[in-house]
Symmetry: C2
């Protein structure tokens, strides 16, 4: 059985699934979704996922959407990345979805991929403030423990880092956040780690901004 | 053992936990968190939850934060609200955290609880557009199945409805969304259902806007 992950390089949400699968030792192949040319808005894609989002993982006996669902599936299937308490791992995965990636993904999109005339300084300021508040919680935790859920790396870490390796500016400067910076180094030192643009097809240099 | 849920009435995130516990038949008592007077920003609260958020569920042998963690714990403990596929239930729970409550909660806060001079029309427009996109996905699914994950009510439904019973305006009018409207009626007809303001202490009429 080949597992196919519908994804594109710019998606931090897809990256969380891709990196989790890889770190769990599960083989997968990417299926490129041309998000920037409307692929997630087609009836065909909506039939695959009514939410109109990547990632979607498809295999002979499985179809999963939402990065967190795929992350938990991979972790439970292999017994990896769960740590001693699944609840602690899930807590950080959910915090990511609600407070970290929600803001970081939207802010990065706004600052880099949206046509300049459609950008709103007020929206960017607001998202930036919300993102900083979330990063402060992560920085506080990582000042106490090496990984978000404690002494072991979990799917919570792989969720929260989803947008933090991207080079496009979104107001996140690792130098400002020493505990997060060291933690990102620990994650990228894990065997099998790769950068999102080296793991999934599609990157900004392939195209122009959205009009 | 008495389970204490740290919460306040205006929090749709706390409501998801409160309603799930109740529908699962688990006894709990509320501990009022005076969010609007800074209670979640105190060192004492941060020691309880570094994220500075409700809900927090505390019992003799358990401390859980993030509504989704509490929802999954309650569902797995009792075998209720999981439906035939935990992955399908979780998928909607995660969609809520990422796309529904993130926008609905922030927009409702902005439109009702933030001091008028701090409100930004641009931010409200942006959040409103994002919320409508998420509601469209829910409406599409609920046009096909009675519950988000299919034929049975799950924690995914109890997550996605978290902010949708509140009376304060945030651009959500049930009459515009017939499938969501009928689904909210199905949820509120479940034995044990109560409105957030009847389930948790604290409501807007108790105080003035934030300054």
């Amino acid at each position: 059985m080949t597992l196919h992950l519908h994804c594109f390089g710019e998606s931090g949400n897809a990256y969380k699934a891709a990196l989790t699968l890889t770190l769990c030792g599960i083989d997968w192949e990417p299926v490129f979704v041309d998000f920037f040319h409307g692929a997630t808005r087609t009836p065909e894609f909506r039939a695959l996922n009514v939410m109109g989002e990547v990632p979607v993982l498809v295999g002979d006996d499985v179809k999963l959407t939402q990065s967190g669902t795929i992350q938990l599936w991979a972790a439970e299937r292999t017994g990896r990345l769960l740590g001693p308490s699944r609840a602690e791992a899930l807590r950080w995965l959910l915090f990511d979805n609600h407070k970290v990636s929600s803001q970081a993904g939207a802010l990065r999109f706004h600052m880099n991929f949206l046509a300049p005339e459609k950008r709103s300084p007020q929206v960017m300021d607001w998202l930036s403030g919300r993102l900083r508040a979330a990063l402060q919680s992560m920085e506080a935790q990582l000042g106490q423990t090496p990984w978000l859920a404690g002494e072991e790396v979990t799917i919570g870490d792989i969720a929260c880092c989803g947008y933090l390796y991207y080079p496009e500016p979104f107001g996140f400067d690792r130098a400002e956040w020493p505990a997060i910076d060291a933690w990102l180094d620990r994650i990228s030192a894990l065997p099998g780690w790769r950068h999102p643009y080296d793991m999934m097809p599609g990157r900004p240099s392939d195209r122009a901004t959205i009009s």
